[in-house]
């Protein structure tokens, strides 16, 4: 049975070129990048090179890139870090995020709120999953110090108006003047890194998080871009690594892999986007032939090229997932049954999508390693699964 992997928003296969770049750093150049001898210096050189590659893609300074274990850690470091730093000298802080953020942002905000370290506003989204700049503008207060908005949503691919947010933040900051509280803009760019413009000055971002494994790099590695001058208090202590912000021996092979993966994104992004868009179009056209379905998320322009979120009436998402898995196809679902709770996807719920639709939602996420012939097999198997499940439903 040929396997089809359509769950690239969860994780991606490591690119062979990435693996090749990493391998020498396990046994040959295994040094600790902090060591002064030549083993250490070779490792440090490789880390520097990877850092330059990331900085080159983001068009920022290399010193502004902090390697972490992934975006979850990056999000924690920057959000907790900013609030903890500023709360040393300020009593009431206000921070803003959206209702559709990844848990690694949302739960950090909830934690800070619960600890009474900051007052939190959670922005609503519209039926397409997009935030409103006007609403954000009205939500910013004189004591707002952080706005954290994801670049693109992992579940239905909505691309947020990040540049507009960046411009708004800059404007508010200018109006506030130098002596008042700072206002920072953090972007969780995990899903966007592969396909969207990530130049931090264009976005107006003061901080940006990403992971290696979503862009055909290794797992367990990511980075935080932190604009020079943004002060954060570390979450972990015990070493001088990464500008005293992230202690721990550097994961050199993974850092090398991340650097290579980012370089590949930069060099082949346009080509990959064209290929993936074609597959997505074919997929949407074929899916439209199934009755009682709806597509969730924004229209094409505001949706990631690799994500489709589609709901089937009278067919439950987890059952669809399991049936497709039996046919060798991997996808994902926003149904309650797979979420660890009895509630359907909070993201689809925030978009006002009714439970009968969200329980039957599945996410298909593509990558450069997918192909058009896979679409035919997928749709064929999907139709069989839907028909079987609908026949069983009351």
């Amino acid at each position: 049975m040929k396997q089809i992997y359509f769950d690239n928003a969860a994780t991606t296969a490591v690119d062979p070129k990435v693996l090749e770049a990493m391998l020498p750093y396990f046994q040959e150049h295994f040094g600790n990048a902090s060591s002064l001898h030549s083993y250490g210096q070779t490792a440090q050189g490789a880390v520097d090179e990877a850092r330059d590659k990331v900085a080159n893609y983001l068009k920022c300074k290399s010193q502004e890139i902090i390697f972490t274990a992934g975006a979850t850690e990056s999000n924690n470091l920057v959000i907790q870090g900013i609030v903890n730093y500023l709360s040393q000298n300020n009593k009431s802080l206000h921070i803003i995020t959206s209702k559709i953020e990844h848990p690694s942002v949302l739960e950090v905000f909830r934690f800070l709120e619960k600890q009474k370290l900051a007052e939190v506003s959670y922005l609503d989204v519209d039926q397409f999953g997009l935030i409103s700049i006007e609403k954000l503008k009205k939500t910013i207060k004189s004591n707002t110090v952080l706005v954290s908005i994801m670049y693109a949503n992992n579940e239905m691919g909505a691309i947020q108006p990040i540049q507009q947010v960046g411009e708004l933040i800059k404007k508010v900051r200018t109006e506030r003047g130098a002596k008042s509280l700072p206002l920072y803009f953090h972007v969780d760019a995990v899903q966007g890194l592969n396909y969207l413009d990530c130049e931090v000055d264009t976005l107006g971002a003061d901080a940006l998080s990403a992971s290696g494994h979503k862009i055909h790099g290794p797992k367990g590695i990511g980075f935080l871009y932190l604009r020079a001058g943004v002060k954060v208090r570390p979450v972990n202590y015990g070493g001088h690594h990464e500008y005293n912000l992230r202690p721990g021996t550097l994961n050199v092979p993974a850092i090398v892999g991340l650097g290579k993966a980012v370089e590949l994104v930069k060099n082949y992004k346009n080509k990959n986007v064209i290929k993936i868009k074609k597959i997505k179009e074919a997929l949407i056209n074929d899916l439209k032939k199934i009755d009682n379905i709806r597509f969730n998320g924004p229209e094409n322009g505001c949706q990631l090229p690799n994500i489709i979120n589609v709901s089937f009436l009278k067919a439950e998402g987890e059952s669809i997932l399991m049936m497709l898995d039996l046919a060798g196809i991997a996808i994902s679902t926003g149904s309650a049954c797979s979420s660890g709770s009895l509630e359907p996807s909070p993201i689809l719920t925030a978009m006002g999508i009714k439970p009968e639709w969200s329980h039957g939602s599945v996410r298909v996420s593509l990558s450069k390693f997918n192909s058009l012939p896979e679409v035919k097999v997928f749709v064929q198997e999907l139709k069989i699964a839907i028909a079987k499940l609908r026949k069983m439903a009351p």
Partner: protein
């Protein structure tokens, strides 16, 4: 969360899936909010000793793999039982057959138990 082989077998080829025309009792449980809707149909007849028993049980389920498998197991357990025996079937009996049901999926087995009880209740009410 890994499903057992037994559970997957019931999911792949559920037993007694369908409806009973002119059923003696129907029990519908669950709601769209939690995502699972189960409908249990029963056909009641008298056994040799003159007691009411479940000659046939069928199900229709909209839900996850565990919900479909729990429905299937319930029908297996219920068919041939007298009404009193059938009313004694619990979620634990279903979970035992399914092996390793993830804790979050217990409610699927509870639904199946409730669905059968509701169908029998309906039958009894009709009879009175």
């Amino acid at each position: 969360m890994a499903y057992s082989k037994v559970l997957m077998d019931h999911f792949k080829s559920p037993h007694n899936q369908g409806t009973i025309a002119n059923a003696d009792g129907v029990g519908e449980v669950g709601n769209i909010r939690c995502g699972d809707i189960m409908k249990i149909y029963i056909d009641v007849d008298k056994n040799d000793k003159g007691a009411d028993y479940l000659k046939d049980v069928k199900f229709e389920t909209l839900g996850c793999a565990a919900a479909i498998a729990a429905s299937s197991v319930l029908t297996d357990l219920a068919i041939g039982k007298t009404l009193d025996q059938a009313l004694a079937i619990t979620k634990d009996d279903i979970v035992k057959v399914l092996e390793n049901v993830p804790p979050l999926k217990y409610h699927c087995s509870i639904l199946a138990e409730e669905g059968l009880k509701k169908a029998i209740e309906e039958y009894k009410q009709r009879k009175n």
